[in-house]
């Protein structure tokens, strides 16, 4: 599926313009839903919840609000038209104001790729939903992100440091991490 078609389809899942609560249509969205009212649906997407961009990237990027993350992800995997069942990259990013996670998804049936981005609320106590129940590989990747960025994942079965020791202070891949002894800064 092309990026544009994907955008139309996924946009159609979240038609509710001021939804803080879960849209009812999402959970049972079927593939027939995408055919008719793509344009309408796309305009109705609430930009604070879901945002599409292709700028500076070859893949379709979806920025999603953190509380919709788990729902969007499970729909992306379950929906027959998207079927993103292969999470091949999960990266934490320090965006400055807040922290974020970038998920790269691929469909093993349709062979299309999508990038989902999510940001946390601030950097003090960053929390996101774990998606390990959707893709088993996320368990390890989320531990890595927790280790290096300090993002806590709700419902994660075994959230503890993966590479660093338990008593390590700070999260090394954050931009404001300082370690005078081990880091060489040019």
């Amino acid at each position: 599926m092309t990026n544009e078609a994907l955008q139309n389809l996924i946009g159609g899942w979240f038609p509710n313009p001021e939804a803080d609560k879960v849209p009812a249509a999402v959970t049972d969205s079927e593939s027939e839903e995408d055919s008719g009212d793509n344009q309408v649906a796309q305009q109705q997407v609430n930009p604070s919840l879901l945002e599409f961009t292709e700028e500076g990237s070859e893949h379709l990027n979806i920025s999603v609000h953190s509380h919709l993350l788990h729902q969007l992800m499970s729909t992306l995997k379950e929906n027959a038209a998207t079927r993103f069942d292969y999470l091949f990259c999960l990266s934490g990013v320090d965006w400055g104001e807040e922290l974020g996670v970038v998920y790269h998804l691929e469909s093993t049936t349709h062979r299309h790729i999508v990038v989902v981005k999510v940001k946390t609320d601030g950097r003090e106590n960053p929390t996101l939903d774990s998606i390990y129940d959707i893709w088993a590989t996320a368990e390890f990747h989320e531990r890595e992100v927790y280790d290096f960025f300090g993002i806590k994942f709700n419902n994660h079965p075994n959230l503890k440091r993966l590479f660093l020791t338990e008593d390590w202070v700070g999260f090394p891949l954050r931009k404001d991490y300082v370690d005078d002894i081990n880091m060489i800064i040019k």
Binding site: E55, G56, S57, E58, H59, N61, D85, Y86, L87, F88, C89, S91, V93, D94, V102, H104, T108, R111, V115, W135, A136, T137, E139, F140, H141, E144, F148, L162, F163, L164, T165, P172, L173, M183, I184, I185, K186
Partner: protein, 373 residues
């Protein structure tokens, strides 16, 4: 009643052992915390980070030329393919037109690297199941590739042959001849691999039906490379997202459906044949031309995000660059195949014996610096 009393006196108890960080079967400094009941494995918990250097953090301060050098130290057995991944990302971002000659040479060297990595894996695989002689057979053939590499770029393991924009130098005049010699040599030696190990009945008993990974699990755990292909998940990046000169060669993707240790083993043996055929198709047709296009001394990537995947000997290596337009990436993430492949170890090793775990781990072909980036 009596039997229960006896049983409570002799109750079995689980215990933990540390397999690693200096254990022969973990091939490096990986520590597996095993929970065992007698010989049977109940849980495998990897304890990582013994050689973590935080390459991703180092990349955030280095220039792109320097980053290429760091990738050698990740999966050191397919260092050339790692270099290529970063170079391809940079070239994609800069939209550089790469000469055909470079593409072909990169592919040849990449496939030679794959063969050499698989040779080492094969030797070590035999050693893990107790056949010590395989190690030397694998290394004998690997040595020829290392010699070719040494003549071409001066290094045997961490090549640094690729630079953004092409190759560091042109190939050595002897390159074509020596690669042809190697192909002729290896075609006679690869069947020896089968007679020495594959056809051995003990080896087959040790590997068939052990550590089964279903296709669904392979996908869910993000497996890639031979591990995923042995489970029937067709995921060869060279097929689906061809890079360099891989779009002009014909080769068969090695696929098995059993998903057990033996399937992963045979996929790699098959891959060596396919890589050999790729090299054979290209070695006579290296186009003339430049070996490098000029780039700025300081490479600045345009603002944006770039993702490039390549197929290393272990699976899919992804380079994810977020650039803000400066000389260093804002964030660079290496999606390493070993990390995802390790995450499924617990899933497939539980219920087996210690010996099964070792055989299974050998076919996951973990390279620890690849996990501890």
């Amino acid at each position: 009643m009596e039997t229960t009393t006896v049983n409570s006196n002799f109750k079995s108890e689980k215990y933990q052992i540390n397999m690693g960080p200096q254990h022969p079967a973990t091939h490096g400094v990986l520590n597996l915390l095993l929970t065992i009941d007698g010989e049977i494995i109940k849980k495998v918990e990897p304890d990582l980070g013994y050689i973590h250097r935080s390459i991703e953090k180092m990349c955030e301060r280095d220039s792109y030329q320097q980053i290429v050098h760091l990738t050698d130290r990740m999966d050191y057995l397919s260092s050339n393919i790692n270099n290529e991944a970063v170079c391809l990302t940079v070239e994609k971002a800069l939209q550089l037109a790469i000469p055909e000659r470079v593409k072909v040479i990169r592919t040849i060297i990449g496939e030679l690297t794959r063969i050499s990595s698989h040779c080492l894996w094969w030797g070590v695989m035999g050693m893990d199941v107790g056949a010590l002689t395989t190690y030397f057979y694998g290394f004998r053939d690997r040595e020829m590739i290392n010699d070719i590499m040494e003549e071409t770029c001066g290094a045997r393991l961490t090549m640094n042959y690729n630079v953004p924009g092409g190759l560091m130098f042109d190939i050595h005049p002897n390159f074509v001849k020596r690669v042809k010699d190697f192909i002729a040599h290896f075609k006679t030696k690869l069947p020896e691999f089968d007679t020495l190990l594959t056809e051995n009945i003990i080896f087959q008993k040790r590997t068939k039906g052990i550590g089964i990974l279903t296709r669904e699990d392979a996908i869910s755990f993000g497996a890639s490379g031979p591990v995923a292909r042995a489970s029937g998940y067709s995921c060869d990046v060279r097929k689906y997202h061809p890079y360099s000169a891989l779009d002009r060669v014909t080769f068969k993707e090695a696929l098995r459906t059993e998903g057990d240790t033996f399937a992963r083993y045979s996929v790699r043996i098959q891959e060596m044949w396919e890589s050999l055929s790729i090299v054979e198709q290209l070695i006579d047709n290296i186009p003339e031309g430049e070996h490098r296009v000029k780039t700025n001394a300081v490479i600045k990537l345009p603002k944006g995000e770039f993702y490039q995947k390549v197929e290393t000997a272990r699976g899919e290596l992804g380079v994810y660059v977020i650039s803000t337009g400066t000389k260093s990436p804002y964030r660079l993430k290496f999606r390493s195949p070993g990390f995802s492949n390790l995450s499924l170890l617990n899933h497939i090793a539980v219920g087996g014996k210690i010996g099964d775990l070792v055989a299974t781990m050998a076919t996951l072909d973990l390279v620890i610096p690849d996990i501890d980036r």
